[in-house]
Symmetry: C2
């Protein structure tokens, strides 16, 4: 054990026990007898422990490498590693390049390195004189050898081969070429010959889930039977168990890749919009009133009053446009209290929102949003190819097909209806699509246009919220007896037949907005307190504007073809899950 000023947790004196509370009875005879027995037992145990420790001490005094291995204390410091001047610090990612550059200069035996933060993937005692370990760091892994020698004791060999999987270690090692390439690691032509090894953080030996289990695909809801039938394998760990132990589950390489891609989508979203004059906004998530249907909104206590969690930043984005912020974007949580237990619903997800004043027509906004999505897809294809391919080795899904020459099909609603009818689907002129109809439409669009990404434009008035701007034609043919007939300046964006964004031109005229609230099937009451600030924003002069909200997790799920949105969520929330 290395010397370490910091006490390890086990050595720390426990908090003293409470004395019996006043008024309690004294102990009975049988209790006294029992206590005497326990005392005897404790004394025996103490003797045994003392003997063990004495033996251990003797062993240690005979241990030539006792300073060269062991568990570090609470602080994770105190190892006897050589200084940076003596031995360079090299990460696993840099190791191969570093070896090429330095090995020529320093031939005898091989160059030495110190590597920190290595994960123990595997450790085994081959014999009393030889242990093998596999270390990893991000996507790199390497084999390590601990061989008994004049400077490496058998105790150290035994210790090394027994470090639990998933522990974190620091090593000082000689880097050598192995006799044969190592097949099981990413670094195949180098090996670490350990001189010192310290456990920085010791994992428990019985993990609730194995990372190996987390590396396997979660079966699709559509085809669970097929996937579970694969023979000879260990039974799949359920998604629920994996999510219960998400800290381990996320360690699987494809899950790391999914999180990297998520980070990438946000970066690509922001960089595209920043370059076009958009500014990030942070709109409030706690609202004084539930403005978008009370059933699907979370209610919270707010200093003796009620408040509600924002289901969308839309009203605030619009108010910012009225506040002379012509182009706003937001990346933030969105809360939906819908009791939907499906593979594509969450109660909390990440919204990528934008809203903008346009000059002459809302199609300016659709065009910009199409370009935005193509920018994201292009970035994923070029900058996240490794990550995408890695996930595809686990989830065997067809590649995401992009439109040729960047021409995104923009299909008017009535044309989408006609396509579905032609394919034998029954649907009314003004009916919203059901989920199966949307998926069917996705197949039809893929067949006709060869793309998994497309836009449906001009949704019917009665299936869109009250604030949606009717189309010019609908406004021109307004019939007060049938005020919800016709189409709107609104649009949905789709990936693989699933909606990733809903957007629209919004009504920017306060009086007309009030009228639409009353006319709309939802019969929203413009007098309701929650609407006042929103409607007022349009009394103060507000340019025509449109926007939309993308679901980050949806984009990632559908880009990769994942079978469940939870796999694209760091710590998912659904009606049955609020932890971890």
């Amino acid at each position: 054990m290395s010397e370490n000023n910091a006490p390890s947790a086990e050595k720390v004196v426990p908090v003293t026990e409470q004395p019996p509370a006043e008024g309690e009875k004294g102990p009975s005879k049988s209790a006294l007898k029992k206590a005497a027995k326990e005392k005897e037992k404790a004394e025996k145990a103490a003797k045994r422990k003392a003997a063990e420790e004495a033996q251990k001490k003797e062993q240690e005094s005979n241990d030539v490498s006792k300073e060269d291995y062991g568990d570090l204390g609470v602080l994770g410091q105190g190892s006897k590693l050589p200084s940076k001047d003596q031995v360079p610090r090299v990460s696993l990612a840099q190791l191969e390049k570093w070896f090429q550059d330095t090995s020529k200069a320093e031939e005898e035996g091989g160059p030495q390195v110190v590597i920190s933060s290595l994960v123990v993937e595997n450790a085994r005692n081959q014999s009393a004189k030889l242990s093998f370990l596999t270390f990893s760091d991000s996507n790199y892994s390497i084999q390590a050898v601990v061989a008994a020698s004049e400077t490496v004791s058998r105790q150290m060999v035994k210790f090394s081969g027994s470090v639990p999987t998933e522990s974190i270690v620091q090593v000082h090692a000689v880097v050598k070429k192995p006799n044969e390439p190592v097949n099981s690691t990413s670094i195949k032509n180098l090996e670490l010959h350990i001189k010192k090894i310290y456990v920085v953080s010791r994992a428990i030996s019985q993990l609730p889930v194995q990372v190996a289990d987390a590396r396997r695909a979660v079966p699709s809801e559509d085809a669970p039977a097929e996937q579970e039938a694969s023979q000879g394998e260990r039974p799949l760990v359920s998604l629920n168990t994996r999510l219960d132990n998400r800290v381990i589950d996320l360690r699987a390489e494809q899950n790391q890749a999914i999180l990297d891609i998520k980070d990438g989508v946000v970066r690509l979203f922001q960089e595209f919009l920043w370059a076009r004059g958009f500014k990030l906004a942070q709109t409030p998530k706690m609202l004084g009133a539930a403005t978008e249907g009370g059933a699907s909104v979370f209610e919270l206590g707010y200093f003796g009053q009620k408040a509600f969690l924002a289901q969308s930043p839309q009203f605030y984005k619009q108010m910012l446009v009225s506040a002379r912020r012509k182009r706003v974007m937001e990346v933030g949580p969105v809360f939906r209290a819908e009791n939907s237990n499906t593979a594509r619903h969450l109660t909390e997800f990440t919204g990528l929102d934008m809203e903008m004043a346009f000059e002459e027509d809302y199609h300016e906004v659709i065009s910009l949003l199409e370009e935005l999505m193509l920018h994201i897809f292009d970035g994923l294809k070029t900058q996240y190819k490794t990550e995408t391919d890695l996930v595809r080795t686990v989830y065997n899904v067809p590649e995401f097909k992009l439109p040729e020459a960047g021409k995104v099909p923009r299909i008017p609603f009535w044309e989408a209806v006609a396509m579905l009818r032609e394919a034998g689907v029954e649907i009314g002129d003004y009916d919203d699509f059901s989920t199966p109809q949307e998926k069917r439409l996705g197949q039809l669009v893929l067949e006709k246009y060869g793309t998994d990404f497309y836009v449906v434009d001009k949704y019917p008035l009665e299936v869109r919220p009250f604030y949606t701007m009717p189309s010019a034609e609908t406004l021109a043919s307004y019939d007060p007896a049938n005020p919800n007939k016709g189409y709107t300046n609104s649009y949905d964006f789709f990936m693989r037949g699933q909606e990733i964004m809903s957007g629209a031109q919004r009504i920017h005229n306060a009086e007309y907005l009030e009228q639409r609230m009353k006319e709309h099937p939802s019969h929203a009451n413009p007098k309701e307190e929650g609407f006042k600030d929103y409607i007022d924003a349009f009394r103060y002069g507000c340019p025509p504007h449109a926007g939309g909200g993308l679901g980050l997790e949806r984009i990632v799920m559908l880009w990769l073809g994942l079978p469940n949105i939870r796999l694209a969520t760091t710590f998912p929330r659904d009606p049955g899950r609020v932890r971890p």
Copy 2:
């Protein structure tokens, strides 16, 4: 009035009234009499209206420019502007450059432009033949002239001079050099001579707050009397009234600049950390248990159960580090149910959080955070100079002083205590600083080191949360009888004597974490359900790590020296405010 297919809101037939419910009594005699009177009145009004409309029609038929002005309909389209091929679209920002480039080619009378989305800053009828308007767009403004002529009617002149302030208009105009430079606008050497003008969005004439009022400074809480005493001015509109009408308040140029700076801080934060391998995370905001003190946490209903709003993403950032995400950052809302009604507290603010595994010492993390802040300050100084200067013309605050040669003072806690004592402040060795003490320390550091930005390191064990890693010295001299004595590996970052970030090395050893929970003055119970996932994360092998959380609004407030954090918040939330 321009022709427009879309009906304007006023013309729309209202929803028909309900017939009396069954079983109701018939009307009484006096009611009948009253009804007859009302009928007569309505008939008279209808006659008067018809006469007015006839007169208006006649006037319109005599109006040579009746197609060239008016209010657009609900859609904001339908103006009779020349096409893009005929007359170029130019924004106010581009106008001066564009004029230089084109005016030579097109001499006679001056070049023509179409400009959309102009805000009417001011409009007045100079005479029956002449109106003046001031238009603005972002930080640009220009004077416009509407003069009666063969093609411009007196009706159009009158209409133009009466457009309410803050309305949005589209114009077709000839650009000319004025006889004398215009002093009141940002574009002084050009003037618009209007050919067509359409109101896209008409503001109400009585705004609840004037933008002119919003352009004035909000007085500091420390010195309200002094500032209110300025003579001859209109009384200041209270901050509360301004926040009630935040959509108008935000239109003031210094508020636009504040929001631009906020956007900039987020961009600078992310770009610095992305370049160093950090990845954005989205951690959940709805938690199954309140882990950080029940009193200051918001509680919500969650499908028949309770859930809580996250007070910090810290536990989840740490769990992500354990999940092999070595460097994570997050930009997201943070919720604090503290009943603090001060100029520097909010119940919802934007956290800029980071957490990272380090190699050998937590000072690696402090160094990176110091560099991060210097990167942000440098970006603000160079890229946001205009915005910073603009805000400083309103809030007369000394410039923010940066440390010389990038050397940030990193003051050990005991040294800060000594500095305060030397200045006559009474404080115990292990007492946390009070707000006045922090401010005093800020003055002392400014005097000694010449900087408004500095770090205090190694806070006492008893004033930091249970998960804070004790210092090596404290661990070495552990005394079970006095387990909360000593210092920690924790730090606060300060701007102008106010804390902008709290951070620390965290305990990454599960057993020791449980011990600290019991020992700590807060007596957190490790058996409590909310802690299980957190503690377990450290049983699976987790590298030593540290991090911190910055308050976005605090940084902006203190960079600019604003007197109130609400001024740096888009739509602020405090115990008394959840709207707009």
